[in-house]
Symmetry: C2
Subunit: 194 residues, 2 copies
């Protein structure tokens, strides 16, 4: 990727994570990146196009974390799923507990912008599908009850995580994230004892 384009995306990601889409103007991005306006419109059609590419950059990080966690053969399938969320929590910590960019832009924009709504819903679904595959592996080994609906379980995990991420943003601390993960993993594995 062109270095100026890369730089614009890199400075915009934390700005949009903290302040949202509408509050971040193009001039703010330009001064943060130290590039002239012409460069912006050379690389992006408009702010919407730009923000969608910021989402792509965010999702690339999430996908790398999914790979790192879910392809780690030294861990059991359930431990891989937990590992993914631990990596995500580490990213949130680095970012100052501002929550999830997908949840943030999804809340802010899905009621007014169909491109963002479908883009972000697609990201959630994609994450959920990858988690579902790993949960399915856990089910097949007997780490989850045989009748578990792993697709539904993965969606639930993503949804509850997003709520805990919102609360971590409100409180700027990770307690809600840990509480949610502990509850989820205790519950799904306890099911096996019934």
């Amino acid at each position: 990727m062109n270095p100026t384009k890369k730089r614009l995306i890199e400075v915009g990601l934390p700005l949009m994570l903290q302040r949202g889409y509408n509050e971040v103007g193009i001039n703010t991005l330009l001064s943060a990146a130290g590039v002239p306006k012409g460069s912006f419109y050379h690389h992006f059609t408009d702010k919407e196009d730009y923000a969608l590419q910021v989402v792509d950059a965010y999702v690339a990080r999430v996908s790398a974390d999914l790979d790192a966690a879910l392809l780690d053969g030294s861990l059991s399938p359930l431990a891989r799923v937990r590992r993914f969320f631990d990596l995500t929590m580490e990213m949130y910590r680095e970012q100052g507990y501002l929550g999830c960019l997908l949840g943030g832009l999804g809340q802010e924009l899905s009621g007014i912008n169909e491109r963002f709504r479908s883009k972000i819903e697609g990201c959630f679904s994609g994450i959920s599908e990858r988690l579902a595959q790993c949960l399915e592996e856990a089910r097949q080994r007997g780490d989850l009850p045989a009748d578990s609906d792993t697709t539904r379980m993965a969606d639930l995990l993503v949804d509850c995580w997003e709520g805990a991420a919102l609360r971590s943003r409100m409180r700027q601390d990770p307690a809600s994230l840990n509480a949610m993960l502990d509850f989820f993993f205790e519950s799904v594995t306890a099911d096996g004892d019934r």
Copy 2:
């Protein structure tokens, strides 16, 4: 409350729920309510003051639903908690599945506006405290395990709900809400069987 003030709040609530804070201008509110600009500034200091009062109106509805559900002596404590979320889901249905105003404005504004952040975090905490009281009643009757941390459980319930509400907004349907509630209530009551 003055009828013009009431009208301004009533027209703004669905607008902010759908479009968020930044996307709804004062002129939009004035034309939706059919009132002149002077009236707005007679009743509200500025848009922030106005939106905080819209949040109050939203929370008044939530509080009424909490009362209706949690004070219903014909239901068990756990059924009262579930009833509250069923009433909330009914409100979401009426509103076209746009999610929760607290989650929406919390995501959009908590990174840039401390008044909104603390206000909305206070609303979440208040809802959670009321639910915790009812969960505590359930624990005392033996409907939850004796060692349940009902404060933590209520926070978790509110957090997961908010995530499911976001997903219902992304998909404009209630499936994520029902899935989350089913999982939560099955899990906490299954704990009792361990």
